[in-house]
Subunit: 521 residues, 2 copies
């Protein structure tokens, strides 16, 4: 039995609500049978796979239908869980945070409303994927790129709302978002920024408008349903070259990050590069069993054999250079000179090394959406991952401290360290992608306990996470505890003001409506 009822509803009142949803969006766009609901489960369930499941799914095709769905929810008290496409697999996919919520799947709202070739922006609905927008641009020969995340099948709007990242100079997607249309819980439709002026020609050109800037409160939030979003596109550069740097030793992390910060701050490295640990890159080549048949974490000796066999480093860095060839040549010389001070560092342009990861990164950093990064899920049978994603200052001290903390916890819990450091402007997203067998209850339990311990340990050292799987949202939110949780008090006040009946995504990012607060759901 997949289906769960929402809190406070019984079979009859729920059946009445479903009938109302059917009237709102049409019979065929409401799902409430087990077989189809199974598609809306957490694809990488770290809890019991039957836990975070929906009671039904509704698929509105327009703003008016979204309003109609909200009206039903307000009337019946049925909580909703909006998803754009639901492909953020490591963060619960389409599964609701609140068991029994009705998923509002927005994938039918999939229009590319505008692509502007003068200014380089797109205005999209929630159901537009990176692949679709990329196709649109390439088919028309438009000289702009859409910055893409690791996997290209997800929603442009959804990824941006969750503050997902890509790997070019436009990798901070929320920073290049410009203009939103939001349907509030009561159905009111707001356009943010300059979009508030009817007929505005700058709604997708200027982020702020007049008065308070609201876009931020609709990201990682449950305050509204975003139905349109503007996003800036990257002017296609005159030239492009991806590269890989391998580091031979565990402790090279420290000096590498120091040099990296300097190259980021002085503008030599203009994109969002990433530094990946040996096992994460091994996972792109073959399952864990190919390298190691024992239980417990892959031993360092095996890691070193993998390094030799695959000709990769303990750490592997992937960056890209953009511009005219002369500028690329100069950047490459500067990058090599800087990192050559690390003994054993090796340098490869894309094509000079047979690493499948380098080939994939070369595509991603050139804004070619693909699904190749999903290869790493082969690490375990029934492989999934849940991420611990703390922010780290780009310093040797912080990077080594976070690494040691995670590595030691890996040893304690029998997990593999699979770290991916994604390098922003002044900080790094340190993403420990904890792989596990989604069909193994013991592995799930250990993985969750491991992740929760890391959240606590990190917070004790002042490190907070930037994103979280639904199973750990409350735990991460609790670490933002300054002034006895003033930030959550603010969120709850805004939540109660904008969604007094608590129908939108209860519990998302730890924000619960008044009626469900403190219930441990």
């Amino acid at each position: 039995m997949v289906r769960k009822l929402p809190p406070g509803l019984n079979e009859q009142s729920f059946a009445d609500a479903v009938a109302s949803f059917r009237r709102a969006v049409g019979d065929k766009w409401v799902i409430d049978d087990d077989a189809q609901l199974a598609n809306y489960r957490d694809p990488f369930a770290v809890l019991d796979p039957e836990h975070l499941t929906a009671s039904a799914v509704v698929m509105p095709a327009s703003v008016e239908e979204v309003q109609a769905v909200l009206a039903v929810a307000n009337d019946t008290g049925v909580p909703l869980s909006p998803v754009s496409i639901g492909k953020n697999l490591g963060y619960g996919g389409p599964a609701p945070r609140l068991p029994g919520a009705v998923v509002v799947d927005l994938k039918r709202m999939n229009r590319i409303l505008e692509v502007n070739e003068k200014f380089g922006y797109a205005l999209v609905e929630p159901g537009v994927s990176f692949m679709e927008l990329d196709n649109y641009l390439r088919e028309r020969g438009i000289d702009f790129w859409v910055d893409v995340p690791d996997l290209g099948w997800g929603s442009v709007l959804g990824n941006t709302l969750e503050r997902g990242v890509g790997y070019t100079a436009y990798g901070d997607h929320f920073a290049i978002q410009c203009g939103m249309e939001v349907v509030l819980a009561d159905g009111d439709v707001v356009r943010t920024g300059m979009g508030g002026v009817p007929g505005s020609s700058t709604a997708q050109l200027f982020k702020y408008g007049f008065g308070p800037v609201y876009d931020g409160i609709f990201t990682q939030s449950n305050f509204g349903i975003v139905t349109k979003m503007g996003l800036w596109l990257l002017p296609k550069p005159p030239g492009y070259q991806a590269y890989m740097i391998t580091l031979a030793h565990e402790e090279d992390l420290g000096p590498f990050v120091e040099i990296l910060r300097t190259l980021k701050m002085n503008g030599t490295i203009t994109n969002v590069p990433s530094l990946r640990s040996v096992l994460l890159d091994a996972a792109a080549v073959a399952p864990r069993s190919h390298f190691y048949s024992g239980t417990g974490p892959v031993p360092d000796s095996v890691s070193r054999k993998i390094m030799a066999d695959l000709n990769i480093g303990w750490w592997n860095f992937y960056g890209a250079m953009y511009g005219p060839q002369a500028s690329i040549d100069l950047q490459w010389q500067t990058v090599r000179d800087a990192f050559s001070t690390i003994p054993g560092a090796s340098f490869y342009l894309a094509g000079e090394h047979d690493s499948p990861v380098l080939a994939t990164r070369a595509k991603v950093m050139a804004c070619q959406p693909n699904l190749e990064t999903a290869d790493i899920f082969q690490w375990f049978d029934n492989g999934g991952h849940v991420d611990f994603a703390p922010l780290s200052p780009a310093t040797s001290e912080d990077a080594l401290s976070q690494y040691a903390m995670v590595r030691d916890a890996c040893l304690e819990f029998g997990k593999d360290y699979m770290g991916n450091w994604i390098v922003g402007r002044r900080e790094m997203h340190h993403i420990q992608m904890t792989m596990f067998d989604t069909k193994d209850p013991d592995d799930r339990t250990r993985t969750l306990a491991f992740t929760k311990q890391l959240i606590r340990q990190a917070a004790e050292r002042g490190y907070g996470a930037y994103r979280a799987h639904p199973a750990i949202m409350d735990e991460v939110a609790a670490t933002f505890s300054f002034n006895d949780g003033a930030l959550m008090r603010l969120s709850e006040r805004v939540k109660d003001a904008l969604d007094p009946k608590g129908i939108l995504a209860p519990g998302k990012q730890g924000i619960w409506p008044k009626s469900l607060r403190g219930k441990g759901l």
Copy 2:
């Protein structure tokens, strides 16, 4: 009589409130005598100078004293009007939007709490001016610059909260703001972003944190009092060169903007340059009476004589180049090649022309705060200005349309066109700095009517303003009328949730608390 009482208070209840404020911050830090209150009037009053005046001023020196002041306001119903330093002269200076509000002057909170030399950021209190922060950096030989606005005496925090701009690659101050501490109306202290994690080391490195991003709703708003703010500093470039391009003809605006957009989008021009009209630059040289003794707008024939006498253009463009000398040389060649297609365009590096504006712009774009831009207030006796500040897409069509609209209104109302186009990433702030004699009631009336007409006309064409003087905040807010004013409904819901008694800056940006809504104050 300068002093005005707040709505709903009489002399006795107000005197009791003032006594409470004195207990909160100390006797000497409360002002309620006419002589000193006069310093808190609008310096460039476009309304009756006695209209937007305060009932008193309180000067807390700490977060605790801010909380104590808020407690008094909540107890007594006295509305507050927080200012950081109050030097945004064209936008009302320290004057409250609500006549009779108590100004909370935060200039005693003037600590530079941290400057980080690894990552280039500063953490400041409201009372820190650009000049003070700049001094701090230069005295210590810190290799970072703080991006500065036209006048350097204002608050770094206050300017950023009002979404003021500077002229380097860090000119969008809100975009480089990172981390806030906000005291809400009930005294609760919130830290945004990663600052929510106690002991966070990334509070000034990563803008977003976990969950909704709140910083935006505390800009151009009356939802809280910001008491600390992080701001990124610009890595000092290896070389710098400012330049000026003069354009001979009115109609050159169109092709110039087209070329400019291309150079901005392709990354040739990396800073925030500005394009100024002939009379705006003339005002930096001498008063209007030096050039023209008639009434009504300065005739075009006089403008052309000014162009010849000062060797400047109808339009004058000020940009800067940053980087190694070889890169600057290349940029200059590219810029000259691109704009040389406009007949009569002339090119000058700083030092090659005796324009005082070029000398000033060269300082501002090199992050050297100064007060030289204030010279333009000499245009009239008792000179002041009020700005009409619409956003324009960076296209020929939009720029010419906005220019014609403002120029024609100037002829109708007898005002001088003094336009300053500040060029952002994909848009331009078109700032018509309307000069007037602050002691001339007729000029004030015409200036205000002129500005209000432009707001209406611009909105009819889909152009909204990014900022406004208190006298026109309601008018500008009303142009954001999509869906019958959904944006303002949202603002009012948030206002009522966060400040239910309506004590913070009533009316700011057109947002009134419930008790004062629709009263035409």
